[in-house]
């Protein structure tokens, strides 16, 4: 669905590159996470893929279109949810969606249905200017689905949302994936990426350092330990045991069999820890 080969970009048209010779592919139906801290080159890459930035070097194909050639009809297949809410504040939520629906050449989704999906059905006739930041973000998110996109660009889809709403958004992303939608998710939130992405790419200083599935990364970089707390003779005991060591595995089994277990945690590495391990940099 997306093919990027040797892509580079400079805002100043010189050798100061915001994106340096990156290559990757996103398969149809895949949720691909593009992870990195601020200024890493995430937004630049997404800007080029969505046509908001001019492609300078490399080859990029998006939804079957070579983006160097101006073909507006490609946007019929693409949806973009921006990090910064950008809806018409003087239009109601419903008017915003109806207007955007009219701009596409393909059958669009019912705006009422979309507003219901993001929990704005009771506010559909209120002007977006009266909305909270989170509500505007949900409206922007809903708008990105109006044309039933085959390829969905999601820029920080849950940033600034309360956990309940964030959970709804994540459910919608999963649901769209189940319907075959390909997603390109840009974020610096490793937990979201871990929950939603089939594969992730770590980008830092304009370069992709690594691309793999979260599961493989955890296996490769994780510690393979279990931390266990149990009650022995009235006292709480705590032990950390290796899951790859036979004696430790036997000990885990004995503890579970003989004592009352208080807590049991696998100590696999988080994506954030792996990111720091791989890039030597944090995500903020």
């Amino acid at each position: 669905m997306i093919s990027v080969k040797n892509l580079s970009h400079s805002y100043s048209n010189d050798d100061k590159l915001a994106v340096k010779n990156i290559s990757f592919e996103v398969e149809k139906g895949e949720t691909f996470g593009f992870l990195g801290p601020s200024g890493a080159g995430k937004s630049t890459t997404q800007g080029i893929l969505t046509g908001l930035l001019k492609q300078q070097q490399g080859e990029v194909t998006v939804a079957g279109y070579d983006i160097k050639k101006v073909q507006n009809e490609r946007f019929n297949k693409i949806g973009v949810s921006f990090e910064q809410s950008n809806v018409y504040s003087k239009l109601t939520a419903l008017e915003n969606l109806k207007y955007y629906a009219d701009l596409f050449d393909v059958p669009t989704r019912d705006p009422h249905e979309l507003l219901k999906l993001v929990g704005l059905e009771t506010r559909e006739n209120d002007r977006a200017g009266e909305f909270s930041k989170g509500m505007k973000h949900r409206l922007t998110f809903a708008r990105s689905m109006i044309n039933r996109p085959e390829l969905w660009f999601l820029d920080e889809p849950t940033t600034g949302l309360d956990p309940a709403i964030a959970a709804i958004i994540k459910d919608i992303i999963r649901s769209e994936k189940a319907n075959g939608t390909t997603s390109f998710l840009t974020t610096h939130n490793m937990y979201i990426a871990d929950e939603l992405c089939d594969r992730v790419a770590f980008i830092i200083d304009g370069e992709i350092k690594l691309i793999d599935t979260p599961k493989n990364l955890k296996q490769q970089y994780g510690k393979k330990l279990v931390e266990i707390e149990y009650v022995k003779e009235g006292k709480i005991c705590k032990e950390t045991l290796k899951t790859v060591d036979d004696s430790d595995r036997k000990k885990i089994a004995d503890i579970i069999k003989s004592y009352s277990i208080q807590t049991l945690h696998s100590k696999e590495a988080t994506l954030e820890e792996i990111f720091i391990q791989v890039t030597g940099r944090g995500l903020i």
Binding site: L53, E73, Y100
Partner: protein, 396 residues
């Protein structure tokens, strides 16, 4: 369909914002001012003080003849106050200087006449006739207006003595001299031999109507240059342009929808002023065609300028200077003698001339249509440039 949706959306946003209401409000205020405060044919501003050293029965006869001819009209006896002061009167013929000094304020009664155009009845000025020459001289000096003494000798010939302020041009005093040296027929015959060129057609706009071309050119067409930039910068600040850029719709449809909003609001605000004042005098088809063409030109120009800036603060310098520059032809409009060649190259010059002709009801149709075409083609080129610029910069 997309252009219709975008236009409808833009109209909703426009009418939920305040720019449109400002335009309409300004038009209504302008209309009220024109109807209430600007007289169609105001009284002439020229005022003069007269003293007649003529036997009363002859003077009465002369006034009656002038009233009958329609060149003057008696209004009332006016009470005038003369303030104390010191001044010197120089006789230009003899070089004799006479100083007058008055320490007391004085109140006098003057017979007041309006001077009229015998053909149109239009008021040309006002004359105060005093009983005392010294009072006339004092009033002329204290008000800075012309004073005159008319004397009749024993043979029935009139002589005139003018009291001027000293700063009048030689041409002015020569005219006064000619008026009383040659007969009316001689002057008319000399004038008829002059080659004259009539500027702006033969029709005439009264004082109130003369403001209308200025209003629709500047508050209508030229203002669209400013307002369309404001709309674009508002969209930029809200980021909605980015959202538009990732739809299959073209940038030019977005730009054209803004222009259509401008045309709609300018037609509304201009009609508010034009229709009540001009009534059926102008050719409205020609008027709206010319208004659409000129608004289109300035809207496209505004879009092009907006494509170079991120927000209105950064664009303000260019915006301000451009608008000031484009307003300069207003000087030529009001001051006929100020008409340098360079000012004719500003688009507002032919716009003002065009609107003036249309308002007179005697429009030079080929002139209007030629400039309509020029504005539409020019606007189209600017729109193409703006489209090119926005495709590159709209989304960043």
């Amino acid at each position: 369909m997309k252009i219709v949706s975008t236009y409808v959306k833009e109209m909703k946003i426009a009418f939920r914002g305040f720019y449109v209401y400002i335009e309409i409000f300004v038009a209504i205020i302008a209309l009220i001012i024109l109807l209430v405060a600007v007289k169609e044919n105001p009284e002439g501003k020229s005022e003069e003080y007269l003293y007649n050293d003529i036997p009363s029965e002859i003077l009465q006869d002369l006034y009656e003849k002038d009233i009958e001819k329609g060149s003057i009209r008696f209004i009332e006896d006016t009470e005038l106050t003369i303030k104390p002061g010191v001044f010197t009167v120089l006789n230009k013929d003899t070089g004799f200087e006479e100083t007058f000094e008055y320490k007391e304020e004085k109140t006098v009664i003057a017979k007041t006449y309006q001077k009229l155009n015998t053909d149109t009845g239009e008021v040309k000025g006002k004359a105060y006739v005093l009983e005392n020459e010294e009072d006339m001289i004092r009033l002329s000096n204290s008000t800075g207006k012309v004073g005159a003494t008319t004397t009749m000798d024993a043979s029935g010939n009139f002589s005139f003595k003018y009291y001027l302020q000293g700063y009048e041009t030689k041409r002015y005093s020569d005219v006064l001299y000619l008026l009383h040296t040659f007969s009316e027929d001689d002057i008319k015959a000399a004038m008829d031999q002059q080659t004259t060129r009539k500027i702006g057609g033969s029709g005439r706009l009264n004082n109130r109507e003369a403001v209308v071309p200025i209003f629709i050119a500047f508050s209508g067409a030229l203002m669209s240059f400013f307002i369309i930039m404001s709309y674009v910068f508002l969209d930029k600040s809200q980021g909605v342009i980015k959202a538009f850029a990732v739809t299959p719709s073209s940038v030019w449809k977005y730009l054209l929808s803004k222009i259509l909003v401008m045309l709609t609001t300018v037609l509304i605000s201009s009609s508010i002023v034009v229709i009540p004042i001009m009534k059926l005098k102008p050719n409205y088809l020609l008027l709206f065609l010319f208004l659409i063409a000129s608004t289109f030109l300035f809207s496209c120009f505004g879009l092009l300028i907006a494509s170079f800036f991120d927000n209105i603060s950064k664009a303000f310098g260019v915006l301000y200077l451009t608008m000031i520059g484009l307003m300069l032809p207003a000087f030529s409009y009001y001051i006929s003698s100020f008409d340098p060649l360079w000012i004719r190259f500003l688009p507002t010059y032919p716009i003002l001339e065009g609107f003036k002709g249309i308002m007179k009801g005697q429009a030079d149709v080929p002139y209007i249509l030629t400039y309509t075409l020029v504005f539409l083609v020019g606007g189209g080129i600017l729109l193409a440039l703006a489209n090119f610029r926005f495709e590159k910069s709209l989304t960043v």
